[in-house]
Symmetry: C2
Subunit: 281 residues, 2 copies
């Protein structure tokens, strides 16, 4: 497994592999890897001959006062995990390597970015689409795998790829959960033991909503209210959003039918967790 | 020479050539080709084995009330000219082919885009950087050639390529001029015979400025004023801008030294012409 820091070397590495006829799969991450990330690596292997994992905590997708500085990092542990998965190259650039001069170019996908996480994190998705464009141009993958946990992110990236004609196929990886249902996240380590227990309410509220819908409820407002009520029973859970949208384009819906995204973001102390469920009704 | 309309076919064409080891050069144009464009094609041949010329009048870089509808077009004449130059493929998509769904993703290079043409054409360069990103992703060139006549455009594209790590080398092609000095432009056909004669004042004002600087003038304001005075002597010439900036980043300068860009845009009737001179002082 090669560990590459320089964007130029990474580009050369990928160009050489492509020239040799290999299909490259990219799994972009911010590191501090867990089973969720590793499942994306395994998924990439189903489609590709050579796997690149990028590890980069991207400053331009964090807002003022967000957790860029304290975002958990452990490169040597990450490298061990990726080595065991049989990854071919890890692209782990520095901030100065990715942004060597004052960057002035931004890629922005409008319309999908002002809802859900975009509302509480202005500029976040512009930072994501910009760095993913850079990673595509540097790692030159034919396939890139993104986790469904960041549902809005993968929808925005799919739209960006279509709009800008990136020659990259986007694959979604399923959410991986702890045994008690909590969606795996690098940020889970921030949780106090009590909040860690309380946080299971997020997935339970999604399952409860799924059951309501299965039993015939079609009013998004009714389902949403039941979820909010349930989450509020967890002492100290502070809801950022609980929303039900069209699962293709995040448009508002008046009736639950077709592909529907149930999505939520909730704070426990200073830790913000997200989760979602994509349903076909 | 192959004429390709579909972005997907174009991508496949380029991927196949790259896989075969060829180096692809792209010359992006809006068609209605003249010697200036053909000189860019010849320049591309100095660097590449396979030449792609794109012909696309890009609606999103034209503002309200600009000349998108009446921009001159003559595809069959363009194809004849390119055939004679030994071009390998012409990518001539339709607007619906390039923007098949409501496009929501834009690439924007800030800071360089609010001066010169960016000031009088808000949104213009966002349209340019977006479509050039698309063309890079579709035609997958290793080299792209842009004319120095659109000096601000090529500077913005060079910055975009650096910021987003596009694996594309940008080459600048010199301005090609008519025997009387007028910079070649597809828009020159709009000019009335009288205005066509008057328009030579643009290049003459640049040469006069160069002479002033050669003779020791270092005050940009003095040079600029002399150019404005000269251009205003041409009856009916309406100045959009006459500016002198740092030739690397378009920053303001108080003294003429180093690389300096003299740039102007002037209207004759409804026809807006641009010209420039890059000087090393």
């Amino acid at each position: 497994m090669e560990v590459i820091q320089s964007p130029q070397e990474m580009q050369t590495w990928s160009l050489t592999r492509r020239q040799a006829g290999y299909k490259i799969g990219l799994v972009p991450t911010m590191g501090f890897l867990h089973e969720g990330h590793l499942s994306l690596v395994r998924k990439a292997k189903d489609y590709c001959d050579r796997i690149v994992v990028s590890i980069f905590v991207n400053p331009i997708q964090f807002g003022e006062g967000e957790d860029f500085d304290r975002y958990p990092r452990d490169l040597s542990r990450d490298l061990d995990l990726l080595q065991k998965e049989g990854v071919d190259a890890v692209f782990a650039p520095t901030v100065a390597g990715m942004y060597p001069e004052r960057t002035r170019t931004f890629v922005e996908t409008e319309g999908l970015d002002h809802k859900l996480c975009g509302r509480s994190r202005p500029g976040h998705f512009r930072g994501v689409t910009t760095v993913v464009s850079k990673l595509f141009n540097i790692c030159l993958p034919q396939v890139a795998v993104f986790g469904q946990k960041d549902a809005q992110q993968v929808m925005i990236i799919e739209k960006m790829v279509r709009d800008l004609n990136f020659p990259v196929q986007i694959i979604r990886g399923d959410i991986v959960r702890e045994p008690d249902g909590l969606a795996m996240s690098s940020r889970n380590v921030y949780l106090s033991p009590e909040d860690r227990k309380k946080a299971t309410i997020l997935y339970r509220s999604l399952l409860m909503a799924r059951d309501m819908i299965r039993e015939g409820e079609r009013n998004p407002q009714a389902v949403r209210n039941a979820m909010i009520e349930m989450i509020n029973q967890a002492n100290g859970a502070e809801i950022d959003y609980v929303e039900i949208y069209n699962g293709f384009d995040l448009s508002d819906i008046e009736e639950i039918k077709g592909q529907v995204l149930l999505a939520l973001a909730v704070r426990f102390g200073s830790t913000r967790l997200i989760d979602n469920l994509l349903l076909e009704v």
